[in-house]
Subunit: 253 residues, 2 copies
């Protein structure tokens, strides 16, 4: 993640409203930090600070130490120019609602347009955000869940929102390269297939069926694996070892 | 979510390997159920069943009651034709790696092509998946995290993977491809690897280098190709043909 994206994540505040279980505060801090988020605000937490929160925060206790504790949601969101509420279910409220993935992209756009701070509100475990809180939100974001069981744990909701923000702000999903060796070239693959065909003839295996069809099937199989050069060397080494037994036999008889 | 997509989620097994904390098993069950997933397997859990797991599962205790408890990862994945390992960081292993979003889409494609069951492995809390487990995987999936703090809680990782699956499977159209052969199961792949190792010993090939490392490299190569059952039969036929020459030699000398 580049520095510009990191600075954008620094302009987002996760606001936990009236959280009942201190363990959830710790787990939420950990979830935030794994995704590179650091600003945690707590509105009237039932128990804080707490050893249970610290235990569950694991290596994210710095977020707890730096957490801003306030007594009202108004105070928590005062500096934000975009306030977002979260819900795991559709609410019977008349306000604009987005799923979390789309919302994360709009937040990236928000900062790209040089706007200010964003506050994201998470309600109490049992009840979710009250109407009083929702009245202070510009937008509601929902996390898609099963129709029959939508009971997301608070820290799990925090984790998904933080994850979507990281991906949206990062822009790219990098797929790690699987091998440090260069892939075999087409010529090297052809060399292997010629070696394989020769060995199969020696093993009396090709005669048993249509040889062209069999070689085509084997080509498809190995091409799918996209072998690197070391792997092709191993495969050819195996063929040579198998052939040398055959040749020994011929020489001995 | 339509019934077809729900049935596809039913063909995915979440396999928690040697989980230390029973609370994490409960939280993982809850995370799965919120996204409509239900198949939980536990490989040698440290404590199970457990009241702590049940407390943290909340409304998802049915997943715990139906959990399959086994003693080896081989047993856990035997029926799967695609086995996936999870990691929150890049591993120093040479195997194909995808981020979780891309992997979820490929899993939807897997079912759309009428393939079988998928097993997704989650390692122990402190250490992650061992090489022994990774050797049984076709693919590694990573969850993007902060470069400076990648310590995702187990249930948080389960939550993100389950969430991405739900989103990827929603609205996937199944295209029947009846002409294709079923993919080889993990047990069939193991049978092939045993046969291959035996043949390599007979060819005096395994002695030349670290045998475990070589077998690991070969597993990675063939797992990447995701062979179908016909292809595995061809590969074993080639081994048998090569071995029979060797055995003939022995009988003649």
């Amino acid at each position: 993640m580049d520095n510009q994206s990191k600075r954008m994540l620094d302009r987002i505040d996760f606001v936990l409203v009236e959280t009942s279980h201190p363990g959830n505060i710790g787990s939420s801090a950990r979830a935030m930090k794994t995704m590179g988020l650091k600003n945690l605000s707590l509105v009237a937490p039932k128990v804080f600070p707490s050893t249970e929160a610290e235990a569950l925060a694991s290596g994210a206790t710095d977020l707890l130490q730096n957490a801003r504790v306030v007594q009202s949601v108004e105070e928590a969101v005062a500096a934000a120019d975009w306030v977002v509420g979260t819900s795991s279910r559709a609410r019977a409220v008349s306000m604009p609602t987005l799923d979390v993935r789309e919302a994360a992209h709009q937040m990236a756009d928000h900062f790209a347009a040089n706007h200010g701070e964003i506050a994201i509100l998470f309600g109490p475990e049992r009840t979710g955000l009250t109407n009083h809180c929702l009245d202070r939100c510009h937008q509601l974001i929902t996390i898609p869940t099963s129709e029959s069981y939508a009971s997301l744990n608070l820290a799990a909701a925090v984790q998904i929102v933080a994850y979507e923000l990281r991906l949206a702000f990062n822009g790219t999903n990098i797929v790690a390269e699987s091998s440090q060796y260069p892939l075999a070239t087409a010529a090297e693959m052809d060399g292997y297939y010629q070696h394989l065909e020769q060995a199969l003839v020696e093993f009396d295996f090709l005669d048993r069926s249509n040889p062209k069809l069999l070689m085509r099937r084997l080509r498809r199989l190995y091409n799918r694996a996209k072998p690197d050069q070391r792997e092709i060397n191993i495969l050819r080494g195996i063929l040579t070892a198998a052939q040398s037994h055959k040749n020994n036999k011929k020489n001995n008889t």
